[in-house]
Point group: C2
């Protein structure tokens, strides 16, 4: 571990070390010297945010290492550069991203990030396409499936916290005072729970591509010109729509939080910007996925032998639309579940949590839950990103 750090920083006597201290699971240190800077991320044998009453094995660093190297190779430059991995110490040394800030904080504030949507749309298309049987050699894909299927502990957290807890009474759950009625309604909503069960089955059984697995606005760091994806320890093979839906769901949460942070005019301006980012993410995802479909469909699910090599492009283009439609429906469903678990479950969204006035926060969250339910239960009736953003605007009174 010391050698790569010395290479980056110079003699250890000059290092300044500080703990970042805002991770849910791990210790994160920033180490700086006159010569440079880096981040050290180390797993603890328990979840940092809860303490040693929630024991957790150290091998999540192993999965983050493998996810980081793969995702970075699939969309170069979009993740922090890895400098060193020490499996025994459950420790990663990585590029220190600065002056980047966590997107979740940025969304509650006043900044705009003109390239954010394009960066994220391309990241989603490239990582999801290139980790699947559309592109990979099948033996490699199956070997990675086997590797990441060992990530049982963190995947189990997703299975419970995402798909189950928010729709039942559970000691891990919490919600803003005033939301009792909404929480009860979610628990008694059979259609919503049927949707949650169906989507949980998709998450557990549809081993389509390597997911980041926890792609929310707290896993993204931004500047005006750069966007980076961090914290890939939840990586697992799953359906493409999971990463997309998690991410869009968090943007819609941020959208509904705006009235809690800003006066009317500003809130609407910021809200429109967030919906614009969402629209851009989806549009760029579709464009990039379509480009990769035509250029890089070399895996066993390529189907080139049926279409391009035999009959021309029509069949290929229809198959692309079929695949995009499936991803679309999954994405909306997962977004709807994400919006519930961030309001009714254990892990909340800073965009909403930082609304000081509880009544105001509850009102924002109530609107977000209405949207989330529509996404989860009525997704088959929502044809495109414009119609979903219109739905959000209507619910918000934008």
């Amino acid at each position: 571990m010391l050698r790569p750090m010395k290479e980056a920083l110079g003699a250890a006597t000059s290092w300044r070390v500080r703990e970042v201290g805002d991770g849910n699971l791990n210790l994160v240190f920033i180490v700086e010297s006159g010569g440079g800077s880096l981040v050290v991320k180390q797993a603890l044998p328990y979840a940092r945010v809860v303490g040693d009453s929630w024991p957790m094995s150290l091998d999540r660093t192993f999965f983050e290492f493998h996810a980081l190297t793969r995702l970075e190779a699939r969309d170069p430059g979009r993740l922090p550069k890895l400098l060193h991995f020490d499996e025994d110490q459950a420790l990663l040394v990585m590029e220190y991203l600065h002056p980047h800030i966590i997107l979740r904080k940025a969304l509650a504030e006043d900044a705009l990030f003109p390239q954010l949507g394009a960066h994220l749309g391309r990241y989603l298309a490239r990582t999801l396409f290139r980790g699947s049987d559309l592109a990979m050699k099948t033996a490699d894909r199956k070997s990675d499936l086997a590797l990441f299927s060992r990530n049982v502990e963190l995947t189990g957290i997703t299975e419970d916290l995402f798909f189950t807890d928010p729709f039942m009474i559970h000691p891990r759950n919490r919600h803003t005072p005033g939301l009792e009625e909404s929480a009860r309604a979610a628990r008694e909503d059979m259609d919503l729970k049927l949707a949650a069960r169906t989507l949980k089955a998709r998450f557990c059984s549809c081993a389509e591509t390597l997911l980041h697995g926890d792609l929310h606005t707290g896993s993204i760091m931004v500047t005006e010109t750069d966007s980076r994806v961090i914290d890939a320890e939840f990586a697992v093979y799953g359906p493409m729509g999971f990463d997309i839906g998690s991410l869009l769901g968090n943007f819609w949460l941020a959208f509904f939080a705006q009235r809690g942070h800003h006066a009317a005019g500003t809130a609407e301006q910021r809200g429109r910007w967030i919906l614009h980012v969402v629209q851009t993410i989806w549009d760029v995802f579709v464009a990039e996925f379509s480009t990769l479909w035509h250029r890089e469909r070399t895996g066993i699910l390529g189907g080139r032998e049926f279409f391009e090599d035999a009959q021309g492009l029509l069949g290929s283009n229809i198959a692309l639309q079929q695949q995009l439609k499936e991803i679309w429906l999954d994405s909306l469903g997962f977004a709807g579940i994400e919006m519930h678990r961030r309001i009714l479950g254990l892990a909340h969204a800073a965009e909403l949590e930082t609304i000081a006035d509880e009544g105001q926060r509850a009102a924002c969250e109530r609107r977000a839950l209405i949207m989330g339910r529509a996404l989860a239960v009525n997704r088959a009736s929502l044809p495109d990103i414009g119609s979903v953003n219109s739905l959000a605007a209507d619910i918000d009174g934008l």
Copy 2:
């Protein structure tokens, strides 16, 4: 290896050994003595049916061993009893099933098997249910997913031979003279190829349960009172409908073969019996799956906390119907593909192959292909097993 054989058979001097010699991949020996009998199955470093021009690794015996032990535990008594596994020699010693005969041969002849449908329906429900996240502990399920995802070579054979070859020009393909037009039509049928691609994606990505992976009428041995499932080396995690569809597809192939083997009255009587078996398999599958759903839904996809434990049975019953509908649609699709690959691809079905008159055989196969296309392309319009059997009867002029 010798000790378990001696225990079953007595001193080696009294053994009589003969090779069965009808396997596609492996050597199979029957060893008998005054004291007992058993079967020795050994993998060769190539596919037996093709020869050493098709090299094949020996580890398929490893996967058969693991599949056999798991499937037998999930439906005890329905697979041959395992006596010994020698990984180094790629060799399994098993119960010798006698007077059982291969179902594929039996279906071309004159026998009836009154319990066959019930045995197979229960086998499908028990193995498919109990190998999934509906029932298994999630860490065990993921560990098995990892184990069987290493079965790359044999799974690759399915991916190619089942879903790809029959719909393109390929040197491995062969068909009965006179079927040129049907083969060309399949290759030029965009909707059929779109369906094949979608179903291949389901097979590759939907890691729902441990499949037998090659469940046709040549993988089943029967007497009037017993039915056994053999040859599980293609085992892999996949969608429940794959085993069901493969099996039903082979029964429908046998159905369309009857006019090639029997005079009008007998052919119709045998055809009706086969459709009756198909009906029984599906009905018993649904009944047994529903029973297990209510009694053994202890896995992370159980959802009991949403329904039985919170709101009563209604949600649970609707979720069961949703799951059965998905299995149904998959099953029909896979059956349709199976019916194509057994007529246009490499591995054919003895029920049809043994029709001596080529013109007669081609006529039977043409009808089977019409049925197979309807299953693959129009499955969403087929509500239940009765309607599908009626379709078969109409196509056959029954």
